[in-house]
Each structure stands twice: as structure tokens, then as C-alpha cells.
Assembly symmetry: C2
Homo-oligomer: 679 residues x 2
């Protein structure tokens, strides 16, 4: 009998451990990021984990209900005293019995995710769909009988010119006591998606209500969920927070989640429940941080990619996993927040979901279009939004094209040997001296470079733990510029490069950026496999951009906007060295931060913008990469660093790439030609 297999998510780290090993011990031995303060005494509860049960086709295991030891008295005591979410176990108490998949929730990770989608400061004209109105209502008169609601509507019409107003039963239920408590003075929140539509009575308070109304702009990504809490009176962002998308345990990328549904009937419902619960948690967390009552949150706007869109709505996403990639619905949706089980918000809160552009180009891309307005640009503008997938918009005042490129998660540091998500301790910037081949770098959470005094002290808390997405792009580009990698992507040996930092790695080589193994820390390297993963990702991105340019009939772009968690931190020069993006004057490349989140905020704060983006999306021409022969062609041709076929004159003005070639035995040179599944 082999020992049980233990797989941790979201890290994917796995190993076999003897029956009876505590989960916390297994996590520590595998280097899984699982917190513990009390040293395993079942007191601190920091080591909470969520074991998964059932079939995990992605991991090739089926987890039985008794995969962990039985719930014990230490856990029971903790739960009864302090409460613990359903399904959670204490990692220090539960021991491994059989093969098991264990999710480490974000709050149990020492290196909690720093979601980089911070709100971009931007002026938005305030025209929220939900507003407060204070009115004095006529008292009832039995000689002129009319309902309290009808007299309220009459008062609103005469004092505020609001037109017809409807109310749901739960709000109607509050009406009579509230009017009497306020002595016929009342403040009401009316929701009116646009002026021609009847308003809805969302809530009401006796007398003058002064606590304000709030809205949540939510950017629901495959990996992270980020939200901004905004004051609906002035648009101020009162708080921002992000959490991991709990669906990660069903599949790291979107297509694995679609596969999960195909293999597990009802799996879509599990994922729907998980993401809705996470949004509720996030809403409560952000409201509490901002000292706002979640019941005062009366609106939410959600942007997301098509698979997340369907999973959030409770629609089986299976059609999105196969041609012709048909959406159940592409229109914008005006929903009740309670239809999405967002019960932490006001009971009558509304949810607006931006329209999707196509089966691979979602409401998040529509939000980028709302924020960046490619159709209003006089110069031909390419907007690249890289999350786990890349969405691209190309256009100017004449027309706008959109497509999605299956870049995969490499740009987010996943599938990279020393890769990690953007979190304290991750290398995010790097330079390599072309002469000495020595690296210097910066890590998230510290403003010093690694060769500056005090760096060692300053990073003691976080350590130097891996490379995040922007770091790996810079590392590969710097290796190319330093002559450690040839145009085909092959890494040279210590001999070929003249530095002991090149070490053998199987039949290929790797470059050592940082080695802390002497102190029991990690060795951070860039391997040949990492270069191949980046080559695949950048080829997909570049091919998408080129496909749009072909469709537009343009051979260069005049302006480029890098958006998304990744785009905000990427160095345009390094991206161009990699050949990720088409050539353009560096001064014309701009970072837009979290443009999708900004688009969500615009839609939250300005109702007219909703109609605007609904109309805009109808005019965007969608280009499908999956079936375009030209996409394949561009993809193959884009493998080199930079591309073999496309000249990069702008880049040549700032960087001279060394002419090296390590391709002596042909090994690994065709790695980039493997076409991966869409993701």
C-alpha cells in the first residue's frame, strides 16, 4: 500500500504522507503557505483548511468522506466557542487517512494575496441609479381613501418629480410603520435605471436618513475577486478589498472549470454557490473595513469573463467550452442582488451586469471598453487586458475590434517553476548586468533593490519566495538582453554564458536568480520550461493583437494601453523585448491599471454609461481566434524573442539584442510550437 496522496490547492503542491500525518505537518513539509501561531495546539485556528470531497478529475483523485480523521473534541471546542465555517477543519488536528485534496483559504495563508486591482483615480460624472429623497407625505383621510404607498408616490412626484414608483412586498411591508414612526416624514431610496423607466422603492427610513447609500463595483476574475465600495452620493471609494476566487479548487483555469461541470453533474451549482458566498464575504469584509452597514449597500455592478458570468448567474457554462462558444445571454442584466444570493447587501439591492461581447470576450472586456473608450480615440489604439486570459480591443473612431487570446496563467506566475502570485516576497522587478550576468531585483513589500544596503533586513519578514508575473517577464527579457538566452528561447550553459549562475537542469539549463538554500530558503531559478511557458503565452497574446491588426488592415498601432492586474505592473520595454506586444514608441504605451474595475465603477456611479456601453458593445466587431488560420500562423511565427518575422524598429532604438545562439543540439527549440488548450 502506498501512502495517501495529499494535494493542496490553490498551490497545487502535492506529496504522499503516512496515514495519521497532521495536515499542518504535511503542509509544512511541502512548503504550503498555511498559517499557525499556536504551534498546532488547536487554539489559534489560523491553520483552518477546507478539505474537498468527491471527484477531482483535474488532480486525478477521488476523495472519500473519511479521507481525514474524524472531527475531534479540540475542533468541536473551538467551533462552539468562536465559530468556524461549515466544512472547515483545523489543519493541526485533522490527520491524513486517504488521498485528499485540501484547500487553504486565503485567510489561512501567511502570505495573503495582495490583489493588485486597486482603484484607479478617475473623475466620473455622478449620476447613480439609486438616490435618496426626503418627502413629507399626506396623512390618510378616510373621506379620500388612498393607500399609503399611493400618497407616498404622489408626494415624491409633487416634491421630486419622480414619476411612477413600484415597490416589492418586503418594502411595502415596512411602509406603514415607517411613515408613522417618522410622523409622515420619510427618506426613500429610489432606484431608476434610466429616466424613462419607473422607479423602484428600494428602502425607506423614518424622518431624515443621513447614513448614505453605497454601491459595490466588483471585478470577478477567474483567480481573484476584487471590489470597491463607493459612496453613491459623491463617488468616493471608501474601501477596496480582494479575495481569491474559491472556484480555483474546481480548476485553476476557466476551461478546467467547464470540464469539471461536464464531468460532475451539478458541479456548476457548487461553483455558483461558492462564488456567490465569496462575494457575500467580500462585501461584508469591505463594508466592515469601511464602517458601512452592508444593508446600506443598495447597488452592485459586476464585471467578469463569460465563464464566470454564467457560473455567477447559475447557468451551466458547458456551451462556452466548445464551438461555437454560444453565450446563454450576452445582454446587460438588471437583476435583484438577492437573485444572486447576495444576502449580505440591502434586501432590495440591485445588481447590474455589463453585457458580454462574445463567448470568449466578456463583461470585463466591455468594462475595459467603457473605461478606455477605444471607439473615441483618434489614433489607432490597442488595449491589452491580461488576466488569466488576455482580452484585446483594437480600434479608433472608425471601428473597434475585440478578441480573446488563450495566454494561460504563466503571466500570473502560475506554471512557472519558481512562480507565485503577486504577494509579499515575490520578485517583481529584475535587471541582469550584461557584463557580469549578475542579477539585482526588487520584491513586493520592499522598496529597496537587492543590492542596496538594508535590503536583507527589510525582507526578513516576508523572505524572498518566488517570482510573480511581472517579474518573470522582466527576468526572461533581461536574460535575452544579457545574452543568456538566444532568439529561439534556448538557455545557454555556464560555459556558453561565462557565469556559474547557469546550472544544469535535466538536459537543459537554468539561471539562478537567488539561492537561499544554505539558510534553508528556496533557490529561485528561471528554467528552460519557464522560458517555453512564457514563449507560449506571449505568442498567443501577440498573435491575437496581430490578428486584430490584420482585420483592421493596419500594420502598426499608434497607441497601446496595458490594463489588468498584470498590465499595471509590466514594463513596456521588457514586454517589447519579449515580443509580447506589437512594436510601438515606448512613450505611446500606457498602463491603465485595473481598467475593468474602473469600468465597473463608472457603470455603478453613472447610469447613462450603462446605456452607452450597451450600445457600444453592439457595435464592436468580434474576432474569433480559435478558428482563424491567421492566428495559428501568427502564433507559430511569434515564438522567437522577439519575433522572427516582425521587425521591431522602435525597440531597436533603445535596446540592442545580442546575437547569440545556443541551439547546438536542437534540444527544446520547438517547444513553443506545441499549441495548448484554450484557457
Amino acid at each position: 500500500m502506498t501512502d495517501p496522496l495529499v494535494i493542496f490547492t490553490p498551490s497545487g503542491k502535492r506529496g504522499r504522507f503516512p496515514v495519521g500525518t497532521p495536515v499542518l505537518t504535511a503542509a509544512r513539509q511541502l512548503g504550503v503557505d498555511l498559517d499557525s501561531v499556536c504551534g498546532g495546539r488547536g487554539i489559534c485556528s489560523k491553520c483552518q483548511v477546507s478539505p474537498g470531497y468527491g471527484s477531482f478529475p483535474k488532480h486525478g483523485v477521488t476523495v472519500e468522506r473519511d479521507a481525514l480523521s474524524e472531527w475531534n473534541s479540540v475542533e468541536e471546542r473551538y467551533k462552539s466557542k468562536r465559530g468556524m465555517k461549515e466544512g472547515r477543519r483545523l489543519g493541526c488536528q485533522a490527520t491524513v487517512q486517504k488521498d485528499v485534496v485540501i484547500d487553504v483559504p486565503a485567510e489561512s495563508q501567511v502570505h495573503k494575496q495582495v490583489v493588485r486591482k486597486e482603484a484607479t483615480a478617475r473623475t466620473i460624472a455622478m449620476d447613480p441609479a439609486t438616490r435618496l429623497y426626503f418627502v413629507e407625505v399626506e396623512e390618510p383621510d378616510m373621506h379620500e381613501p388612498s393607500g399609503d404607498m399611493e400618497r407616498l408616490v404622489k408626494a415624491l412626484e409633487s416634491q421630486w418629480n419622480t414619476g411612477p414608483v413600484t415597490a416589492s412586498l418586503p418594502v411595502l411591508r415596512k411602509l406603514q410603520p415607517t411613515l408613522r414612526k417618522g410622523n409622515w416624514q420619510v427618506t426613500v431610496a429610489l432606484h431608476q435605471p434610466h429616466e424613462e423607466q419607473p422607479a423602484t422603492l428600494v428602502d425607506l427610513w423614518p424622518g431624515l436618513y443621513e447614513q448614505g447609500l453605497y454601491g459595490l463595483a466588483i471585478d470577478l476574475g477567474s483567480t481573484t475577486i476584487a471590489a470597491h465600495l463607493c459612496d453613491l452620493s459623491d463617488g468616493r471609494i471608501l474601501g477596496s478589498a480582494g479575495i481569491m476566487n474559491p472556484q480555483i479548487r474546481f480548476g485553476e483555469d476557466l476551461m478546467s472549470r467547464v470540464s469539471y461541470v461536464m464531468m460532475n453533474p451539478g458541479g456548476d451549482t457548487e461553483m455558483t454557490d461558492a462564488v456567490r458566498a465569496a462575494i457575500n464575504d467580500l462585501a461584508v469584509e469591505i463594508a466592515s473595513q469601511s464602517a458601512v452597514d452592508p444593508r446600506a449597500v443598495v447597488e452592485t455592478v459586476i464585471v467578469c469573463n463569460p465563464v464566470m458570468h454564467h457560473l455567477l448567474l447559475g447557468i451551466d457554462p458547458v456551451e462556452l467550452g466548445q464551438a461555437p462558444f454560444a453565450l446563454a445571454t450576452s445582454s446587460a442584466l438588471n437583476l435583484e442582488a438577492k437573485d444572486l444570493d447576495l444576502h449580505s447587501l440591502n434586501p432590495a439591492a440591485k445588481a447590474y451586469i455589463l453585457p458580454c461581447i462574445a463567448g470568449h470576450v466578456g463583461a470585463d472586456c466591455a468594462a475595459v471598453a467603457l473605461s478606455e473608450e477605444p471607439g473615441k480615440q483618434p489614433e489607432l489604439t490597442l488595449i491589452v487586458d491580461v488576466g488569466t486570459n488576455a482580452e484585446l480591443l483594437l480600434g479608433d473612431t472608425r471601428r473597434v475590434l475585440a478578441c480573446s487570446s488563450p495566454t494561460g496563467p504563466a503571466f500570473e506566475g502560475a506554471q512557472i517553476s519558481s512562480g507565485q502570485r503577486a504577494a509579499p516576497g515575490a520578485i517583481e522587478k529584475i535587471t541582469i548586468d550584461p557584463a557580469t550576468k549578475e542579477p539585482r531585483f526588487r520584491v513586493i513589500g520592499c522598496d529597496l533593490w537587492s543590492d542596496e544596503p538594508g535590503f536583507h533586513e527589510a525582507t526578513k519578514g516576508t523572505g524572498i519566495t518566488g517570482i510573480c508575473g511581472s517579474g518573470i517577464i522582466e527576468a526572461v527579457a533581461e536574460m535575452r538582453m544579457a545574452g543568456l538566452v538566444d532568439p529561439s528561447g534556448l538557455i545557454g550553459s555556464a560555459e556558453q554564458c561565462g557565469t556559474e549562475r547557469m546550472i544544469p537542469e535535466g538536459r537543459t539549463h537554468a539561471y539562478v536568480i537567488h539561492d537561499a538554500t544554505a539558510e534553508g530558503g528556496p533557490k529561485i531559478t528561471v528554467t528552460q520550461g519557464d522560458i517555453r511557458a512564457i514563449q507560449l503565452a506571449k505568442s498567443a497574446l501577440y498573435a491575437g493583437a496581430r490578428l486584430l491588426m490584420d482585420e483592421f488592415g493596419a500594420d502598426r498601432v499608434e497607441r497601446m494601453v496595458l490594463a489588468g492586474a498584470f498590465g499595471a505592473h509590466i514594463s513596456p520595454k521588457h514586454a517589447m523585448v519579449l515580443g509580447m506586444i506589437p512594436d510601438a514608441p515606448l512613450s505611446h504605451v500606457r498602463s491603465a491599471g485595473n481598467a475593468a474595475g474602473t469600468g465597473a465603477r463608472i457603470a455603478l456611479l453613472n447610469r447613462a454609461s450603462r446605456r452607452e456601453i450597451e450600445a457600444t458593445v453592439g457595435k464592436i466587431t468580434k474576432v474569433e481566434t480559435a478558428i482563424a488560420p491567421r492566428f495559428q500562423e501568427h502564433f507559430v511565427n511569434a515564438n522567437a524573442l522577439p519575433h522572427a518575422t516582425d521587425p521591431f524598429p522602435e525597440l531597436a532604438q533603445i535596446v540592442t539584442l545580442p546575437e547569440v545562439s545556443f541551439n547546438t543540439n536542437g534540444d527544446g527549440a520547438d517547444g513553443g510550437r506545441r499549441r495548448r488548450r484554450r484557457g
Copy 2:
């Protein structure tokens, strides 16, 4: 220690029984109508009862959880084999332990209620709000990406000209599999309350759906709930059924229910839950009788009085119990049936509730106005709808007035010594020979008069059990015409009347209609108290009619319509002898049957009629009886049989009322002056 008190509802019968007495035994000893076929062996389940727990201020008892013996193995076996509703007990198994209130559900009564609200045949122009459309939808094309919903809407628009269509998430969820199953042919049910509003996608089926769509017209009365199941394609009534309103256990009349809420916080929720559950049960029953899948019921229209309206909607009705009788809302309501917990219908079924006219004049009266159209009559028309309350409409093409009169339940046979609801065995028609003073009568369920051959045989099954509402009116009027009662309402003695059928009853007398005590049956009499109750009720009704006539400036009406369960069975001549209704040529008095139910059907089958009645209700002038000094005056003056102050010339042409006076000692003569609480 006294024995526990056992109170049965809805009959109100009560008695004390030793601890350990089976509920079935107690019911039999009290003459409570509780079925049993198997003789108490726990097999037939006919004797199911619903014990109530908590405080019953109306009955002056508090029922503890252990008021009955514990659930036993016989009940458990029955429940597990055949199922039994939550809270039910078997009357043959449960024994009395403490004071208890026990409801006998309609289905456990031998004499099941015959709800007399049968649908009146009537031609209604078909224009239902929900219709079926068969369409062929374009298949998705990844070069022209659009959602399946958007292509469906496009197909509907081009093939049926339907305009914008929205869908709720549960319906959207079905869209993709249904379209594919039907090979892009689909039948959809669209709900469009009127042409200018966007349609809602209610349901859809692959290919051609041929099972039809159905609607329920519900007349929700204080005492009974009646419904008609209609085919929405041709208006045919497929089935009708009625059940008792389960709220009766919280109070027989509306004001006792309002009081129940005042005394029992949360009592409104109990009543809301009870009535919604009853409507669900009724829907399932009627659908099953008609062999219709309840899921094919996509619409319901509900009419009811204001207190029932609020209790159905889940709104605390407390404001309706006190001046100025303010409704929470008076407008018509377009709801989702699921908002009313009507989960037995189609999940996306709609519910339309007609507008209320005033705090005492409800949606049921609006439905009568829709059915009888007083505002379209060239002649001044009085419409009287008598349920537990009486609603009156008076008008012609110039204007329409409405009011409500607190008649109380006497006209329905309640609060009458031998009274009972309209059910088999109840005396419904009676004549008294003016010479012999001998009665002859007919009972419900038998077409023969009591003096015809075969009557005894024909009524063996039901027995002769009491007098229903129409019966008591005829009995009192006939007693007046036969000289057994004087104009003040006093009953004569055997000596004064010359018949041994007059028997002493306390300090007054009673008239024996039927005496089966020799065979162990009942003695059915009309007592002085009964005459007083009828005098109070008829005075209230008449005073309401007179008040409207005063307001209109009319001293007589040209046309009269008697509506409602009661109106349909009442003899206009007898009503006029009583002075219940103003004087009018008998040929101008018409019975309209269940006009409220007819109004509900019209609104169900013709959406334009909804807008019509909404506009009409806004133009009806409401007259409040509770505060009109003239109402009090009319009420007092209307006490005599017929009235002392108003001449009845039309009546004089067909009936000569004997000049008798039994008022020798003044006893009871002022009984009619007591003003009762509104009900």
C-alpha cells in the same frame, strides 16, 4: 381539577372531557363534523385534525405543546406509508391531556363545504397576458457572436413582432438545453401585461408544446377560498373548487383576525402562511381534478377584501382595524406568484391583484365593478355583494359610489342558533302557510320540498342539519308574512299565533321548523335572538344602501343586482319583506351569482380589462359608513320589518303584511339598537 377544555374550530363547539379522551370521541359527543370510516383504527386517516398551539385570545385559552398525547406508532406508521401534513394528528389516536383548540380541516369534515361560488357563464373577449409562441431560432455563429437569448428575442420579434423580452435567471438557465433539445425550434410562454410593456419569458419547451397554458381566478373570501381554473387559450373553465379559509381558526370575522395580530406579534405571518398554503393546496387540487399539470398554470388573478389583501401580501393589517382605515397600498399589483409562496404553480407564474377601492372596500368589490359595470348603466343601479361583509356599489353613467356595511356573518348562517354554512342538509328555502302556520322547506342536496313524497328518503344521507343564510332570510320573512313576527321583530307565543310550533325560549319564543329529536336528530328553530341578528345585519345593509342613495341624491334605485355567494341564492321578495334592500320592482332585481369571481376571470382572460378596472376604481367615490351620522340614523330606522320610515310601494303590490303586534311587555324590542363592532 376540572377536566380539560376542548374547542373545535371552525364550528366553535366546545366541551370538557376527562384526560385521555380521544379527540374523535370528543368530536362525536359534541356533534362536531369529523369524519371516520375505519372506526378509529388509525387506518382510514379520515379523522385528521390540526391541533393549534399558543395563545387563542378569541377562545380564552392557551394551548401547551403537550395538550394532546404524544405522537404514537399508529400515526407514525400511517405517516410513513401514506404521508400526512405537518402538524396533523389522527383524531382516533391523539387523546386530550390539557385545554386544547382543534381545527377540523375541510377534508376531514363529512359535510364538506359546498362553496356556492360557481362560475357564471359569461362571454369574455380573450386577450390573456400570457400566450404561447412557437419560433425557429437561428443557430449560433461564432463569427457573429450573440447570446442564445438575444437570437430567441430576435426570432420572436421577426416572427411574432413581440418587442423586447426579459427573462429571469431560472428561465435563462433552461434556455440553452431547451433550444438544443428542440433543434432550435422552441415554444415560449410570454407574459405581457400590456402591449407597451416589455414581455417576460415565463417558460419554454423544446419544439411544439401542445399542453396549453392555464390561469387561476381566485376569490379569496374571509370564510371560503374559491378558484376557477381556466384555459388561457379559449377561456374555458376546466375546474372549480373551494376550500375553507384556514384563517378562520384565528378569528371568524375580519376584525377578530386584526385583533389577533394586535394581541399576538407575528400573528400576521402565521395567517399569511396559512392562507398561502391553502391557496397552494387549492391550486393542486383543482389542477389534479382537471388533469392539468400545476406547472402549466402561469397566471393567477386574486380578488379579496382589504384585510385578506394585506394578510395575503404579508402586510400587517393593523391599520385597517382603526380609523382612518389606511391601506398600505390600494393600487393593482403585478407580482410574481412565488412572491406569494404559490410554489405549486409554474415557477415563473405571475399574480395580478385587483386594486382596492378603500380601507373597507376591497379588490373583491373592484372585481364586482369590473363584472357588473355600474358606471356603464343608463339606469341607477345598486349592486349588493354580501359575503361576511357587504359591499355596495351605486351608480350609473354619471358616477359610481361605493361603501362597505358591517353586516356580520348572520347572513351566512353564523351566529344563528340553528344556523350553518351552505352545505348538504341545510334548509335553504322555506314557506310558511299564513293560515296553518305550517312550514315546508327544501334542503341543499335535494330538489324536493319537505312535503313532497320521497323527501324523507332523499334526505336520509345528509339529514336535515340546520338553516343556511338564504334559508334564515326566507324563514324570518315568511314568519313576518305569516303573522308570527310583528313589525318590531318580536315573535309571538303559541297562544298569540295559534300554533304549537311557537315554543317558549327563555323569556321569549321560538318557531320550530323541524323537530327530529325523537329520532336523535336536531330541533331546528328560529329564536328571538336569530331575528335580532338578522335585524342587525339587514339594518346595516339597508343603511349602507340608503347612505349611498343620499350621497347620490336619489330616493329610489331603478335596478338592483344581488351578487356574492349569498346574493345568488336569495329571494328578492323575501329580502324586500325583511327590508334588507331598498324597494324596487321585483322584475328589476337580478342575481349576478359570484360577480367577484367573474371579475377575477375577466381580469385573468383579458389584460385590457385590468387597465380598465384600474382606471374605473380611481373614479369611484368612496363613502365611509363608520363615521357618517346618517348611517347611524338609517341603521336605527331600519330595524323594523320592513322599515318604519321608508315606504315599500312595490312590495305592497305583491305582499300584504299582517298587522300584528306582540310587543306587550317591551321585551327585546330594542335589541336592534345595539350597534355591533364592524366585521
